[in-house]
Each structure stands twice: as C-alpha cells, then as structure tokens.
C-alpha cells in the first residue's frame, strides 16, 4: 500500500485543474487581470507539483528537459517573430495594428498581444521548470522508507 495514496489522488485531481486555470489566466489576460507571465508560472507549478508528489524522474518523463530548453527559446521566437511579422507587414517593430489595419475595434492589437503573451507563457513556464529541474536534480528523491 502506497503511504502517499491520498496525496497522489488529490494531486492527480488538482494538476489538470491547475493547468486549466493557467490557460484561463492566459486567455483571459486581454480582458482582466492575468497574462502570459502569471499563466506560465501557474502552468509550471502544476508540473512542479507533479514532480513533488510523483518524483523527479516521472516529471522529467512527462516534460523532458530537452523540451524545456526548446520551449524557452520558442517563446522568445514567438514574441520576436510577432515583431518581425509586423515588420514584414510594413509597420514598426511590434506594431500590432498591421495585423488588421481596417479593423474598427483594434483586432490587430488583439491578435498581436495574444501571440506575444503566448510566447511569454511558453518561455516563463519553461524557465521556471528549468530552474526547478536544475536545483531539484542535485539531490536524490527520498525513498518511501525515509519518510
């Protein structure tokens, strides 16, 4: 019988909710409090919770460190790429109105900020995990007898 069964069951229920909440904060960021940074931290915390309950090895299987490294860079590329796209559309760097110049309700700004915040989410979540992996991997996981 696993001594942590309650923890595990509760965590299994919570982790998807935390991840879902991260995306709520992300997508709601345009209208209310929230945005890419907060969403990224919340998303990373769901995986960190997984690592705390199920061990580092399991977490690294779910979210491999190589993905983390790529994710950190991809987020920056997404952010910068948005700016490059506005350049290609003939505007200044990060001039989002270029995405929908005819829009009367600033749809271009909406799309631009959305794509930039997605990049922030990606980089922040992966950077948090990278820090956690870097420090967490220095010590061995406790075996069940040591509890």
């Amino acid at each position: 019988m696993n001594p942590h069964v309650i923890l595990r069951v509760v965590a299994k229920m919570l982790i998807p909710l935390i991840a879902l909440f991260a995306f709520y904060v992300q997508f709601h960021g345009d209208f209310g409090p929230g945005g890419g940074f907060q969403a990224g931290v919340i998303f990373a915390s769901s995986i960190i919770l997984y690592a705390l309950i199920f061990g580092m090895a399991a977490a690294k299987k779910a979210m491999p460190p190589s993905w983390v490294r790529i994710g950190m860079s991809l987020g920056v590329l997404l952010y910068g790429g948005t700016g490059v796209a506005t350049w290609l559309l003939g505007g200044n760097f990060l001039d989002y109105t270029r995405f929908a110049p005819e829009s009367t309700h600033a749809a271009g700004q909406h799309w631009g900020i959305f794509s930039v915040e997605l990049g922030v989410l990606c980089t922040v979540a992966c950077a948090m995990l990278a820090i956690f992996y870097a420090f967490g991997s220095r010590v061995q996981d406790l075996s069940d007898e040591d509890w």
């Binding site: 790529i70 950190m72 860079s73 590329l77 200044n92 760097f93």
Partner: protein, 524 residues
Amino acid sequence: MSSISHILPSWVLTHGPALLVVLPLLMAVLVALLPSKNTGAEKIAWMAVLSTAIICAFIAFGILGQVVSHGPVKYAMGGWEPPIGIGYYIDALSAPILLLITLIAVLCTLYALPSVVAEIEPKKRSPFYAAFLVSFAGLLGMVATGDAFNVFVFLEVSSLSTYVLVAMGASRDRRALTSAYKYLMMGSIGATFFVIGIGFLYMQTGTLNMMDIARILQDVGPDSRVVKLAFVFIVVGLGLKLAMFPLHTWLPGAYAYAPSFVTAFLAATATKAALYLLLRFGFTVFDPSWTFISKFFMYLLAGAGILGMLIASLQAIFQNDIRRVLAFSSVAQVGYMLLGIGMTTTLGLTAGYLHMLNHAMMKGALFLAVGAFWYRFGITQVSDMRGLGKTMPLTMAGFTIAGLSLIGVPGTAGFVSKLALVRAAAENGWWWAVGVIVVTSILAIIYIGRLIEQAYFQPAPKQGAATVAKNEAPMIMLIPLWILALSALVFGIDAEWTTGLAEAAAHVLEGGPILNTPPLSGGH
C-alpha cells in the same frame, strides 16, 4: 562614411535602431536551439554570431552617418509614439558607442573561433555563443533606447548574460566561478540602485521617457529631494557598473578569469556603455547646471577619477597575473574618463569621450594579445612572458603598440586623448590634475614596461636543452589584434575623425537636457 548609408536599403536605416537589438536577440535564440552534441554546431553558431555582428556594424555605421548628416535618429516601438510608447533615440552621443560595440564584437568574434575551442567545453560552446549574442544585444539596447526603464531592462539583459560568460571561464580556471559570483552580487546591487533611482524619477515625474522626464524635471526644479535621491541612486548604480574607483572591486576578478574573448569584449565595451549611461542621465536627463549636480561632477566624479587613477595604477604595478595588471589599468583609465567628465567643460568632455573610444581599441588589443599568449603557451603570469618577443614576435609587437598607446607615447591614440585631457585640465586651472595625469602615465610606463621588458629583454625559457621554438598565434587571432593595434596607431597620427566624434558628443552634452519629444517617425 555616408557611402555606407547609401548601400544600406532605406528600410534598414529607418528601422535600424530596433533592428540593432532584435537581430542579435533572435539570433541568440536560434543559436541556443542548435544541438549541443554535434561538433558542427559550434561552427554554425560562430558563423551566425559573426554575420550578426557584421550586419549590426553596418547598421551602426549607417545610423552614425544619418546622425552626423541629419541629426538624431528616432524610432517608436510598436508604432506608439513616446512618451506613451517606448522610443529609441540615437544622437551624436550614443551613435559612436553603438559603432564601437558592434566593431569590437566583429573583431572579438573573429578571434573567438580558436580561442573558444581551447577554453570552453564542447557541449557548452553553442550556448556560450548564444549568451554572447544576448549580452551584445543588451549592450546595444541600453545605448539605443530613449526610455529610462528600458535602459534598466537591457542593463540586466547584458549583465545577466555577462555573469554567465565570465563563469564559463571555469573550465580554464575554477576561480572564474567566484569571480562571476562576486560580479553577480555587485552587479545586482548596482542594477537595484539604478532601478530605485528610476523609481524615484517616475514618482516625481510620472513618466519613463527620458525626454519627458527631462522636460518635467525642468518644471520641478533642483530643490526636490526626490530628484536628488533619484540622481544619487542612479549614479551609484551606474558607478558600480562602470567600475568607478571605490566600486570597482568586481572588475579585476571578472577580467582575469573570464575566457579571453569575453575579457577583451567586456573591457572594450561593457564599462563604456555604462559610462555612456552616466553621461546620458547626468547631462541630458538631469540638468548639469543645477548646483548639486555640478558640485557632484566636480568633487565626487573628478575626485573618484583622480583616486582611481593613482591607486589602481599603483595596484597594477604589483600584480603578478597579466590580466589583473590590465584590469587594474582599466580601472585607472576609467578614472581618466571620469576626470574629463568631471570638468564639465567642452574640452574636458571631449577628452573624456575621446579617451573612452581610444581606450576601447587599446585595451581590446592588449587583452586579445594576452589571450593569444595563453592559447599558445598557457601564459598567465608576468614572469612567464620571458622571451615572448622571440617566440611570438607578431603578437608581442601588437601588444607593444597597444601598450605604448596605453602609456600615452606620442604618435598613438592614447597620447591624443591624454594630451586633450591635460589641455582641458590646464584650461580649467586644475594644475594638480595635470600633475596626476603625468604621474599616472609614469606609473603606466612601469606596469606596461614590466611586461614588455620581460618579453624582449629576458631569454626565452628552455625546454630540455633547446629554447622554446617560435610559435606564432594563428592568423585568425592575429588579424583582429593587429586591426585594433593599428587603429590605436592610425588614430594617434590622424585623430581628426575620432576627435570630431568626441566633439559632437561633447556638443550634445553641453546642450544640457534634451527636452523635445520626438515627432512621428518610422514606417508610417
């Protein structure tokens, strides 16, 4: 120079200020994504860095040409006009620094190919190049931007990546780790002070755009305590970053144990960018005619400069590690620049700015040469330099030219800027400062002369029965070294161009606060 402005497409010039920052930043990400196990990756990374640096150098040339012919270049990020949005603002004060940073980056990157192979573990090489590009982007960003908070962001971008770069020297000497940690601590304190100062400015003015701050400060006047606090915090924060004398303790370790290519790049650019920020804030955001600021420049800045010149020069004489000698000499040279700035006269500002440009060339060349000594013979100590005049004649000759320029021998760039400084001090009636400049130049003869004496007048060490054979540094390391050394000669003989740049910068500084909000610009 204007011919370079013509070959660049007008789009590149219009968006140049943003492109200068975005290009290295995005290239850094791409380089970081390269697979680390593949040995071909580091070559690709190196080529990416080199091409980025060359493109940025062309852009910086173009911007400088524009600034010289049409006045300041402005750019509104995201199409939001400042003060609402982040505005980039490049004038005669910042454009030469941008060019300096990009050119030094090109030369150092050329040099990096063999040097990085020798100093950095294979799997860390691509990330190393990526960190260098981030640092490069940060330096360019903090010089190009016209937004006070944006300055802080780029200051941190460049500093954080620089700590990593310094720590990468650990595979050569473990002491790099403690040096990087010390640099991290001091640098973070500096950045914190700086951002507290910006916070006070924001509290007083309600804006972060530099020109807007300057305009509102004119209404606030010099009596506001918040403004005084802001000034003090900003100056102490930047003083840490630029290694102003009592705040310089991070510098010798960081320069001595970082990889050679990083040391050369940092010595030639990082402190210069921070010094630029001191000028930008002290003269064009705050009003230098206010009593507490002019008194500060005269007593504290010039005082710290004088102390730094004397004490750091003396310390340089007693160092055994070549790079520590040069690092302490850097602190002393920063003292010269601060002394010139502290005079706040046209001649003084010109001399300080000119010395900043010249010092970058000669210190860059010196550190590149020392890196080459290590690359061939593993030399780090002064006593190991015996016979280098015979075993590495070309490298040593480049070192000697740059060293003579550092001393201020007539016909070199160092002489031009020291003479300008002496004239400025004499014009001010600061005869004691003239004396200090002469004394520290004599000290420079001692600490550089010690190195040159070892290299030329001591026999090469024996290896068994035979003396060590001649073993010149590879061509790709010699070329950047010689370009820098020769430029130290060329700008010593014909200093018209560099002096012109320095005079234009001094002219901007003399104009006091820059108040006009930039008109519409960019691709509209």
